[in-house]
Amino acid sequence: MMGFLRNLGSVRRGPAAVTMVAAAVFTAAIMIRAYAAAPAGDIPSGNVIQPQELAQALKSAQKPVVLYTGPEEFYAQAHIPGAENIGPAGKPEGMKKLRARAASLSKDMPVVIYCGCCPWDHCPNIRPAFAELKKLGFSKVRVLYLATSLGVDWKDKGFPVASGE
């Protein structure tokens, strides 16, 4: 590292430094713009859990709290066993219910939220739910990755479901 710094210091010509600074500023500007164009509230990869991993976690002694944040009609048909029905977090009543439930949970408790109402990129519920739990200070929130739907990515793959309201 020190050698690298010494080498940098030995660059005596102004144009080299100016070029490098300009390149860095240009690159950073492009990346900042790319981030600004990204959908608001996108979920970092570290906060995403795959179905297989959740299925395993549900068999363990320390199960995460699983919150379903999608349409009630789907929950009644099939849901992950033990999942609590919060309702669509993209709607005010769902968000209110999420906040009420969150108030009774410890902030360091592992929480998994899922929806699967529609393709992942377009789900109107998981992003607001995730953002809200993070805002409330939950440190172990993960979102179940369901690329197409709960039916395709969970039930049809043989993971367990329960039904009823």
């Binding site: 492009i30 048909q77 993209g90 699967g116 109402c117 197409t148 039916g151």
Partner: protein
């Protein structure tokens, strides 16, 4: 002193460059392998389940009876106006109905948990040319369960479910399927 200042500038520039490259890789790389696609999934087994005779009421108060579609090829689309990919597909269902309606194609939309007023406004704005019915457990159950939107079923002239498309619809493939069913010899 100037040398020190230059060194600091260069270190800052190098750090900014590194951060920029890292951010770019992080932003544009797939978040996980499975996230790359959300292609339409077509259920392997459609099992030719017969559509039960049921009666529903559409958003205009008209009765929609599955028995009335006997002898027609029917597309049943579970969707919602709040579901962006579903809403985007509606004009294509309208176009299919226009194109093949006189050959015997019918469409029914089952809307999942839409606000009734917003749903009516949406259908009016898009000039939806087929009945739209608020979905419930009974309608989902008639099709063997619906656990995600959009989901589209293809029902043959025999009244049986021949196809189930889950996720964003591949309309080129769906149209081929529709044409094949419309032109299939009838018993």
């Amino acid at each position: 002193m100037r040398s020190m200042a230059r060194r600091i500038i260069l270190v800052i520039a190098a750090a900014a460059l590194a951060i920029g490259v890292y951010a770019g890789l992080e932003r544009f790389a797939p978040r996980n392998p499975a996230m790359e696609t959300s292609l339409p999934a077509i259920a392997a087994s459609t099992n030719l389940r017969p559509l039960p005779h049921l009666s529903f009421t559409d958003i205009n108060g008209s009765a929609v009876r599955t028995a009335d579609y006997k002898g027609k090829v029917l597309l049943v689309n579970f969707w919602a106006a709040w579901c962006v990919p579903c809403a985007d597909e509606v004009p294509q269902f309208i176009a299919l109905k226009k194109k093949y309606g006189n050959q015997g194609l019918q469409v029914i939309g089952f809307s999942v948990e839409d606000d009734p007023r917003e749903l009516r406004d949406f259908c009016h704005r898009h000039e939806v040319n087929y009945p739209v019915v608020p979905s419930d457990l009974r309608s989902a159950d008639a099709f063997g369960g619906v656990l995600g939107l959009p989901t589209t079923f293809v029902i043959g002239r025999d009244g049986r479910i021949h196809g189930r498309h889950e996720g964003t619809t591949d309309f080129a493939s769906l149209e081929k399927e529709v044409v094949a069913m419309l032109t299939a010899p009838q018993d």
